[in-house]
């Protein structure tokens, strides 16, 4: 039976990101979902989990989460190395990089990947993107105070077709390494991207991937892909 760990859902739940967890529950009604609170010891630290998810949070909470996860850095590294499926959306993904620069202040992150993020609280970036991952269209929303720099593009998650990647003008978005997926795209990412969801289910060992509400989800996805292809993407 699958064990799926949701990190800090009491605080990492902004921008509709919890829709991903709801959808995972519909697609895997028999799986065990472990909801780990900020004051708890994560399940991945002591036992095997099949998947780890973490969503968007406030800037203050980012620092708390980094502090907590630093204690379990080795175990998290081990999960990445052995191919545990990990999905971090929105600014959760920043925490896997080197640091966040905030008006001259440096917030050290977990340092798994080479990128860093630059934060400007008075400059909110919002856009939509259309990208490609393993031949699939990926669509999503960005709404953020930060941009990320210095990526190793060999480990990029997706290639931009339309919209902005790591930062303005970047051709790639996010990080994919083994089965770790990190992206600035936020909200119901898995619901908006049923083809990627099936891919993820494949990684989790599901042989016949039947999505929850598949027809409705696919119809919404195809309409959005078409719109993003044909309309302006920067609002």
């Amino acid at each position: 039976m699958l064990r799926i760990e949701i990190l800090y859902p009491e605080v990492c739940n902004l921008y509709g990101d919890m829709g991903n967890v709801q959808y995972l529950k519909f697609c895997y009604p028999d799986a065990t979902f472990i909801e780990t609170a900020l004051t708890d010891r994560p399940a991945f630290a002591d036992s095997d989990v099949d998947m780890i998810y973490m969503g968007s949070m406030t800037e203050r909470i980012q620092e708390k989460v980094v502090d907590r996860l630093k204690e379990y850095k080795e175990q998290l590294q081990a999960c990445i190395d052995k191919g545990t499926v990990i999905l971090f959306t929105g600014n959760a993904y920043e925490l896997m990089g080197q640091y966040i620069e905030d008006e001259g202040r440096r917030i050290d992150c977990l340092g798994f990947f080479p990128y860093y993020a630059k934060r400007e609280m008075m400059k909110r970036h919002f856009s939509v993107i259309l990208a490609e991952f393993e031949g699939m269209d990926v669509v999503g929303f960005k709404d953020q105070f930060t941009m990320a720099y210095d990526h190793d593009d060999a480990k990029a998650f997706m290639k931009i077709i339309k919209g902005e990647g790591h930062h303005e003008g970047a051709m790639f978005e996010g990080v994919r390494y083994n089965n770790f997926f990190g992206t600035y795209l936020l909200g119901p990412f898995l619901i908006m991207n049923p083809r990627f969801m099936k891919y993820l289910m494949g990684l989790l060992g599901t042989e016949e991937c039947k999505l929850a509400y598949e027809d409705a989800v696919m119809a919404a996805y195809e309409k959005r892909c078409h719109e993003f292809r044909t309309k302006s993407v920067i609002k």
Binding site: Y23, E59, R124, V128, P188
Partner: protein, 460 residues
């Protein structure tokens, strides 16, 4: 030179206002914005009235502003206000400009201003409200407002030290704003039906701000509204100075206690609990300003809650209600959905038409908020059909399915007017609800009027 710029700004602002008005425009933001462009501290240099009341917060600020303006008008005061205008910096400057002489002298004694939370940054350095009501703080538009800590951070930084606050004791976010400032708290006592946890998806404060432990709710009204304490340290909700002790729907009354324990009875201005918060916030402020209960009873009235937010018409035995449900604001939307859920009727139909047409025209609306909004409230046997209209109808359909609404009850249409047929198809429905976004009241009334014609025709 500095004075010259100021006079020029006042002159140009007033001229633009006059011209725009002659052209039949709303003229609420542009005159002020131009004046700011000519003289950035124009608001600072304009003479101020004796009393400035500001109203901010995520939800309810427009209603509270209208209630207070109407109160003062009925008392015979002439009030500077932006109720027909805009709550951003340009709108506030316009409100002052049109009530000033060309030399910048103020023509009225009182200003009551709705202030957008983020605009306090641009407004408060130049205009210090004597009193500021903050109705509540919730997650709002992702694009403009990010999250409550971001908004609270801006308010903390820009609320002037001398401003006295009227804040919601049942909201652990807004009640802690500008912690050094003097304040009074309003609140509503726990109701019989309220439990220890709210079933809402979005909760903007869940952990103790001091020690990160999960807060324990003594009771939860909706979302993070309620009373909570930390099991690990002494952090807890503050006590309300003005407390609604009893909501008596049968007698149409609310009972409020004041800080010295006196018990007052007022006519209930609206059954909707969010409006009861608005009412007690006004009672708190007006009492602090020295008005007696008789004055408040007479001049704080129902008519201030405007029809563009909620309206009811009767159509051949069916009630058709329009409800503002600010698209992209998951909390306002959830409040509207909760109202439908609790509305007593054997059969209900719902039309959701909350798409942002502007965003759709320019690109594609960010629909993340759907997953913070409680569409689960519609998954009841009484709800016979949910029609979703607009470009984002397919996204809504997925959300409604996930909320547990059976597929056969969901109908999607692109054009909003096509919803009329789909709603009229279900016969003998007791109540039909039309949820629309801020700029959608005109379109919603059009749907409602056509639907009314159909239902009345069929009934005759």
């Amino acid at each position: 030179m500095k004075k010259l710029r100021f006079y020029l700004a006042v002159f140009v602002g007033k001229m633009i206002y006059t011209i725009e008005k002659l052209l039949g425009k709303n003229a609420s933001v542009f005159p002020g914005s131009m004046a700011i462009r000519i003289c950035p501290d124009v608001l600072g240099q304009l003479k101020k009235p004796e009393l400035i009341i500001g109203i901010t917060g995520t939800n309810g600020k427009t209603t509270v502003t209208n209630m207070l303006i109407d109160f003062y008008r009925r008392k015979g005061y002439d009030v500077i206000n932006n109720s027909l205008g805009s709550n951003v910096a340009g709108g506030i400057v316009t409100a002052f400009l049109i009530n000033s002489t060309f030399s910048g002298k103020c023509k009225k004694n009182i200003a009551i201003l709705e202030i957008d939370e983020k605009s306090t940054r641009l407004v408060c350095p130049y205009m210090q409200p004597d009193w500021l009501i903050c109705t509540n703080l919730f997650r709002d538009s992702i694009k403009r407002n990010a999250h409550t800590e971001y908004i609270a951070g801006i308010l903390d930084k820009y609320i002037p030290k001398k401003t006295k606050l009227v804040v919601n004791a049942d909201d652990l976010i807004s009640s802690r704003l500008a912690e050094g400032n003097e304040r009074v708290y309003f609140g509503i006592e726990r109701q019989e039906y309220e439990l220890e946890s709210a079933n809402n998806l979005a909760k903007d404060i869940t952990i103790c701000p001091n020690c990160d432990n999960k807060l324990v709710f003594d009771y939860a009204r909706y979302h993070h509204i309620g009373r909570a304490h930390c099991p690990n340290c002494d952090f807890a909700s503050p006590n309300a100075d003005y407390l609604v002790k009893k909501i008596d729907k049968e007698a149409d009354e609310v009972v409020i206690t004041n800080p010295v324990g006196e018990v007052w009875t007022f006519t209930m201005l609206s059954e909707n609990i969010v409006n009861i918060y608005n009412q007690v916030a006004c009672v708190a402020l007006l009492t602090e300003l020295g008005f007696d209960t008789e004055d408040i009873r007479t001049h704080l009235t129902k008519d201030s809650i405007v029809a563009s937010r909620f309206s009811v018409v009767e159509a051949g035995g069916t009630k058709i209600m329009t409800q503002l449900s600010k698209g992209k604001n998951s909390i306002a939307c959830s409040r509207a959905l909760d109202y439908i859920n609790h509305y007593k009727a054997e059969s209900k139909c719902v039309l959701v038409m909350v798409d942002d047409l502007y965003e759709e025209k320019e690109g594609s609306e960010n629909t993340c908020w759907l997953y913070d909004a409680d569409f689960e409230y519609l998954a009841t046997p009484e709800v016979k059909r949910v029609v979703v209209a607009g470009a984002r109808a397919l996204d809504h359909k997925v959300r409604l399915l996930m909320a547990g609404i059976p597929e056969e009850k969901i109908v999607t249409v692109e054009a909003e007017l096509d919803a009329v047929d789909k709603l009229a198809e279900i016969k003998g429905v007791e109540a039909i609800f039309i949820l629309h976004e801020v700029f959608g009241y005109g379109r919603a009334s059009e749907v409602r009027n056509r639907l009314k014609e159909r239902l009345v025709g069929e009934h005759a």
